[in-house]
Symmetry: C2
Subunit: 200 residues, 2 copies
Amino acid sequence: MKLFFSPTSPYVRKVMITAHEVGLADKIEMLGSAAHPVNRDRTIIAQNPLGQVPTLIADDGTVIADSRVICAYLNDLAKGSVFPADPKARLQAEIDQALGDGILGAALILRYEVAVRPEALRWPDWISGQWDKIFTTLAHFEAHAPEGRADIGAITLASALSYLDLRFPEYDWRRTHPKLAAWYAGFEKQPSMVATVLKG
Amino acid sequence: MKLFFSPTSPYVRKVMITAHEVGLADKIEMLGSAAHPVNRDRTIIAQNPLGQVPTLIADDGTVIADSRVICAYLNDLAKGSVFPADPKARLQAEIDQALGDGILGAALILRYEVAVRPEALRWPDWISGQWDKIFTTLAHFEAHAPEGRADIGAITLASALSYLDLRFPEYDWRRTHPKLAAWYAGFEKQPSMVATVLKG
């Protein structure tokens, strides 16, 4: 398999944590890319019209977007348990993936606003709204940390927290979310996390 | 079940088309909402920290976000075929859902940029990048329309096209995508589409 990747993409990290968890990481050849929302990468677009990372090219040539679909594909391929077989556990994992992706989406929008958009065109209310989305969702996970789980919900949440650390190190989410911080401190010691650290 | 909804949300439309297709539409009670990325709706947030529509509250109280998870949940509940049982067909449906959601996401970002953000703070390069994402993905579907399918991929694409018609009626995508236009003209006659028309 081949994967268009970026070393700073938290969505790529979701895929690679999953690949490590299900034992497929060494089957994936990494393809460099220059995915960007304004200067779009035509090499990716030739395969995936969204022009985004992660994009997986399966061994039979099927091009798979996006991170959710890729993670489910890898799990199915390896008969893994990142998506639990039990329907109730799987639903919870997928809900938590959606919430984690919500944090990630808001954090990426913030990154585009404060690091890509010209400074004179930034909108404080928009920035506040995205931060508020992150705050309310982190508060949810502070009350409902995915203890003892390594499913796609936990993986997505960990990717989101690592992205906050990478891009917004001045935001000390650990201080205001001690239970989530304790959960993450344990989770990030897993080999799948150690092998996939984001590099800014 | 209860659903936080908005009559203009294409993600809500995905859910309601799915509900009609699997025969569960009359089991869903609609809850009005004022979801907004800046002035966030605290009533939704009390249930779903993302504060978004669609948010489904299942009969056992489980709160389900987001549209992908809700659609899969409804399909499982009704043992429907919106997510095909055949693994290859299901993968294709999920890839096309991701591509359709990509169009939707770009269209929503455009909507926020040109209708929510103060005019003086709009960024033409950002607008061009989002439109380009829509163009490349529509070009893909012009070559690969989901003929004869009513799965989640086709449903998502139809929701995206209907949203372009609602918010950007000046963009005549049918002229430049005649095969996609022919497919959509057939698809939108289905009862599940007729029952869920977006209202701006």
